[in-house]
Amino acid sequence: MNELLIDIGSTYFKVCSKEGISQHFRDFKKNIYDDLNTKCADILSKYAKEDTYICSSANGGLSTLIIGVTNSFSLKYAKNIAYNSGINIIDTVLYGKIQESKIPSETLDVVIIVGGIDSVGGFFDEKLFAYLKKLTYSNIVYVGSSKDAHYLSENIANLKILSNIITDKLKLNEGELKEYLTNLYQEDIVGKEDIKHLYDITSNQIYSTPYIVNRSLPFIDAEFDVVNPFIVVDIGGATTDIHYSRDLVRDNMLTESEYDRLVFKKLGVYKSRETLIHAAKNNEFVYELLAYLNVTENILDEQSEKALRILMQLSIFLVLCKVSRLNSVYVTLKLEQLKSIVLTGGITKVLTHEECESIISFFYRKIMNLHHIPTIVLDSNYDIWTLGMVQQHHQRSETCR
């Protein structure tokens, strides 16, 4: 390998070169670029800008609000594209209920508007413009019926218009929106004070980490002891990502990728620790779980190494609950058919295989009523990420040729 691969996370970054992988905890007093330069000056100096590849989840990812006319088509399609483009924070508004919908207080990176097949128009009216006036956002894109494009662009400043994500046959068209969102990520980095200098050390596009991980999934069963269908759980400092084989769901969508992604934005172990604990306390099985782990609920208020381990175990449990039949708000995965669970991210540096296994066994026994559990693979050396980065690089060099 002649490339230098760097992943910038919210709590630490990792660097992969031919000498191997190293990881460094973030120094929050410095901005990311300075921090990276201080800690890895040696290695950075050895690689040219063209050979350096960076992906990042440090800025928390883009926040998105999708406004669509139905749940089964507009919103479902746009959500799928957004998640698979690496977007982290997604809220949706069903257009028919826009007047009752709450207004997000924070600034949104991008608003997506979608509805209708190309031959139909007249979905949107003053209500949309009134709602948009109350929002603050950096970008706005329209991916609905071409008939409404003109009317909307006359009434919405700086509206970007892309091809409809709903085809004339009501099928999904991922192309342009997916590309737009992945590029937006790049622009977002350029604009963020904390990391904009990263382009000083690479001449390649900076992708979001989950996008890279998602791309590696079709290849991982050939390289690891991972058996399809599987899920990859990436428990990070701020969010928890889950990537899943599409045969674990039944959703009548034809997509390009074999794996879909979903994000739980409030289940991180550092930055969203409070919401994680809150979710835990509201889970009916958690007290049994704490007893099973031989701790009391006081551990949740502690700031110790032990407390962190418990918190991470809890987050595995909660994520599994959220995709099981217990919770129908998110997608329901056929967890009884799951063959492998891959754990990646910072969690693999803290928990042992036994600790992961014990919590997953508990979940399967309590919630699924099963004694056999899927095989557990700890991606403790960031192999999935490396594979994804290399994959992305090869793909690019092939298109160039």
């Binding site: 069963d221 084989s245 009548n252 056999h372």
Partner: protein, 454 residues
């Protein structure tokens, strides 16, 4: 340990399965009597093998069914699994099997093979010492096939396309390809120990006016997908079309081209067999008429010189047949075959040339897809409509091709959708049909053509 073996360990490690002893299974297969291998019988090529369908939930009733079949001098025993097992819902199979055993009532529509396990099932199969064919319909058949092979079932029907497009709306097709790769790898591995394990494709597809060129292409690509994993014995198949001439033409072309493509891709050591399915569409509700239809089918199977025939029963229109009725159907078919002598060899050069040209055009388009693996080429071809199965419920299938029967009962293409057949071939197809003047009448004719045997 190889990656495949590690995957196999994961697959057989299941809540509803007793521990697998792979070493013991290998030694069983190595020492199994040749009689159990259908590939061994195929090699003799001395008769048309007769095989029904059939499966009951309990061991006892399955055993009784096999006893009935043996009395009818059966050639190949079937093992049809229940629909819960097909969907990998072993919990439900287990529950329903228990209920069936307690109440002496069939709560499952087949034999729950995974639930019974290979140790139990093997006792029955070695007892009868006849080849057994696994009939299922499962997209992810990895555990099912491991269990079958351990049981002594050495013929596995199915494939990623033929078990998906007719049966599923949204199981991801790319995953089905991967799961069937596993099946083929395991079959190939065991094929080295004794006689080869036979893989069989399911040619009838939706059994609803599927044009022969589409059937043949799918048979060939599923065969190639198996052969590239090391399978050495493969059966292509199709079902009664509705015209004896078209059946004969289909048979001549499928035999020629499956051999051609196998050789072309470097698999000349493979044995290829032909299986003929009796009418797979709707059966008459009159049992005597059903007997007559079955008998006609047997004659055609002999005319197309198939190696195996899969038969129906006079109870077809009413659901699962009784074991006596099923065995009687075997006996009738055997009788027809015994008394049917001096069959002429028939060809129709014009029809064969046309069908051959259609198949080659589609195969060319599939093989020249830009993807780097055969399965992905096929996957892309289905997605783009180069392969299009009429009346498939699956969301990936284009459903643009429209077919109708001509005056002689031949299935003809009147809308080719994205099928890459030449203008000449398409003109030939259309020249054979006199389409009714209005669209409504065309639809009525299609409805009538689907139910041709009613």
């Amino acid at each position: 340990m190889s990656l495949l073996q590690r995957e196999r360990d994961v697959i057989v490690n299941n809540e509803y399965v007793d521990k697998f002893d792979f070493e013991e299974i290998e030694s069983f297969i190595k020492n199994a009597p040749k009689e159990l291998f259908i590939s061994h019988h195929f090699k003799k090529r001395d008769r048309l093998l007769v095989q029904p369908r059939g499966g009951f939930p309990t061991y006892k009733k399955m055993f009784a069914l096999y006893e009935e079949f043996m009395k009818a001098d059966i050639d190949v025993l079937p093992l049809t699994v229940d629909s819960n097992t097909r969907l990998n819902d072993y919990a439900m199979s287990k529950k329903m099997l228990a209920l069936s055993e307690e109440n002496e009532m069939d709560m499952l529509n087949g034999y729950p093979l995974v639930t019974h396990g290979y140790r139990t099932t093997r006792k029955m199969i070695t007892h009868f010492n006849k080849p057994v064919s696994l009939r299922h319909g499962t997209p992810d058949a990895r555990l099912l096939v491991e269990t079958a092979l351990g049981s002594g079932i050495f013929e596995i029907e199915g494939g990623p396309i033929t078990y998906m497009l007719p049966y599923s709306k949204n199981f991801p097709l790319d995953k089905a390809f991967l799961y069937w790769k596993y099946v083929d790898k395991v079959c190939a591995k065991y094929s080295q120990l004794n006689e080869p394990i036979n893989r069989e494709s399911f040619g009838p597809l939706t059994a609803t006016l599927v044009p022969p060129c589409v059937v043949i292409v799918i048979q060939i690509v599923e065969m190639l997908l198996s052969l590239e994993e090391g399978v050495k014995s493969f059966s292509v198949s199709f079902s009664q079309n509705g015209s004896m001439m078209q059946d004969i033409v289909t048979s001549n072309v499928i035999k020629k081209l499956s051999r051609f493509y196998a050789d072309k891709l470097g698999y000349s050591d493979t044995v290829i067999n032909l299986v003929y399915h009796q009418w797979m569409g709707a059966f008459p509700r009159n049992k005597e008429l059903s007997d007559s239809l079955i008998n006609t089918n047997t004659v055609i199977a002999a005319m197309v010189r198939a190696d195996k025939i899969i038969i129906k029963t006079r109870d077809e229109a009413f659901g699962i047949p009784t074991m006596q009725c099923n065995a009687q159907s075997v006996a009738n078919t055997k009788y027809t075959l015994r008394t049917l002598k001096g069959l002429p060899v028939v060809h129709d050069e014009e029809e064969e040339a046309n069908l051959e040209a259609e198949v080659i055009s589609i195969m060319d388009a599939v093989l020249s897809d830009h993807a780097d693996t055969l399965w992905r080429k096929v996957f892309n071809s289905i997605r783009s409509g180069i392969i299009d199965v009429p009346f498939s419920p699956h969301i990936i299938n284009k459903n643009e091709v429209i077919t109708i029967r001509d005056d002689n009962g031949n299935i003809r293409i009147i809308d080719k959708g994205k099928l890459p057949i030449s203008d000449k071939c398409f003109a030939y197809e259309k020249s054979k049909v006199n389409l009714p003047p209005t669209q409504t009448e065309v639809i009525n004719k299609i409805i009538h053509d689907i139910g041709a045997m009613l």
